[in-house]
């Protein structure tokens, strides 16, 4: 057991625990905040494994942007303080989700456990090596992915514009703002 092993076990444990809390809590905003802890500790895992660049990008993109966007959307729509019974799922759903989660875990374990041998080395991946891989070998898949994201973004924008135009035509009733909803 080296210090790195202990550190990896520590951040891994935090990631698993916070992930579990994120899906079991009944407070919507708490779920998003536990997700922050979970994604942050996954970044910690990358860091311990020597992938510094991946860890920093994980922190910048997921914690700094994606979860902030999720929180922003939650606050803009409906995020009361305290447990929110509306988002609680039925028992059947929960059981199904647990089975599905266990299935995915078993699948991953069956693939990963044979690979895990006793010999472990942590090659510190240099930023230059990552850049060469991303912009050399994998440049086309990388660009295709970014194009896919762009198309999804434009499509989402188009859909939101269409529904809003329909709504405006349908009713001229004033909408309630988020703080009013919260105070109710």
């Amino acid at each position: 057991m080296t210090t790195l092993d202990i550190a990896f076990a520590g951040v891994g444990l935090v990631a698993a625990a916070s992930g579990l809390l994120a899906v079991t809590t009944r407070h919507v905003v708490h779920a998003a905040l536990w997700l922050v802890v979970c994604l942050g500790s996954v970044a910690g895992c990358y860091l311990v494994l020597g992938a510094e660049l991946v860890a920093l990008v994980q922190l910048l993109v997921y914690v700094g942007a994606v979860v902030v966007l999720v929180l922003f959307a939650l606050m803009l729509t409906r995020a009361p303080i305290g447990p929110n019974p509306e988002v609680t799922t039925s028992r059947a759903h929960r059981a199904l989700a647990a089975v599905l989660g266990a299935g995915v875990t078993a699948l991953l374990l069956s693939v990963l456990l044979p690979v895990a041998g006793p010999a472990r080395k942590r090659p510190g991946t240099s930023n230059t090596a990552v850049a060469e891989q991303v912009f050399g070998t994998w440049v086309w898949p990388f660009e295709a992915l970014s194009l896919l994201l762009l198309v999804a973004l434009v499509a989402a924008f188009a859909i939101s514009r269409m529904t809003r135009a329909a709504e405006v035509a349908q009713s001229a009733l004033p909408e309630m703002t988020a703080p009013e909803r919260i105070s109710q």
């Binding site: 922190l59 910048l60 914690v63 942007a65 902030v68």
Partner: protein, 319 residues
Amino acid sequence: MTDVLEVTLRSVSVLAAFLVLPLLVGQAEHKVMAHMQGRLGPMYAGGFHGWAQLVADGVKFVQKEDITPAAADRRVFRFAPAVALVPYLVAMAVIPLSPDLVAADAPASALFVLATTAVGILGTLMAGWASANKYSLLGAMRSAAQLLSYELPLVLAVASVCLAAGSLSLGGIAQAWSPWWLIWQLPGALVFLVAAVAELQRPPFDMPVADAEIVFGAYTEYTGLRFAFFLLAEYAGIVVMSLLFAVLYLGGWQGPFSDQLGWLWTLLKGLVIAVVIIWLRVAWPRLREDQLQHLAWIVLVPLALAQLALTGVWVVVSA
């Protein structure tokens, strides 16, 4: 044993810088603003030109009652100031003052600073939501919208400098800097400065805290030490962004006698930028929410992209 001692010493130095430099900037703000407005500013605390005003403020904040509103989400409310404050402390650890004078020399420190400061916004969001106050929530939503828009030009501007230097490390960037960058990277520098002021939610970008409209935004319900932590986070943010600007665009420690006085050059350049940020507060009225978004998406993002393209072309041509 010496390793443990060294790490402790480095951490303590970062903590000391974190506690002293924001106070210096705060005191500079008191005095610079006052003189720009034909006032004297604090004159009594500590004797000489009110130098101890912020120490007195700190003592006052400690003595105030720490109130959590009854309707608030208690744990999130109480934890939010720490989330806002700690990222700047961590970011300060990787900013080099001279080639040897850096607490933690990370290989991708430019990215590290951006990643950690991006986490700080969560503190504001948590504070605004957990306060159970509509002004706080409005403030939090305004700051989320603002910070998300200005994150992009900030990252693009830093990417351009990294490209020009061929390095992701702040030390490497300052080492590669030459006076020619002052012209070549000027659009990126302007974008960075504007986006940094917006990230700090300082005037003219203080829509999220606009005290005349939404009281004090996400910080309305905070009192005492927790409120002081939010203020400290703002001033620590000024220190981080000013030093970052000095290292990225002004060559950090480069200057006469840089072998001995390099750290002083970095600090001086950072101080000049901090005074500029204070000056902006005195000189400009607050931008409206739509003007804010316009500036970010119509002006800053295209400008940053153009700078990135220019840098890329020049690097390829001159290589």
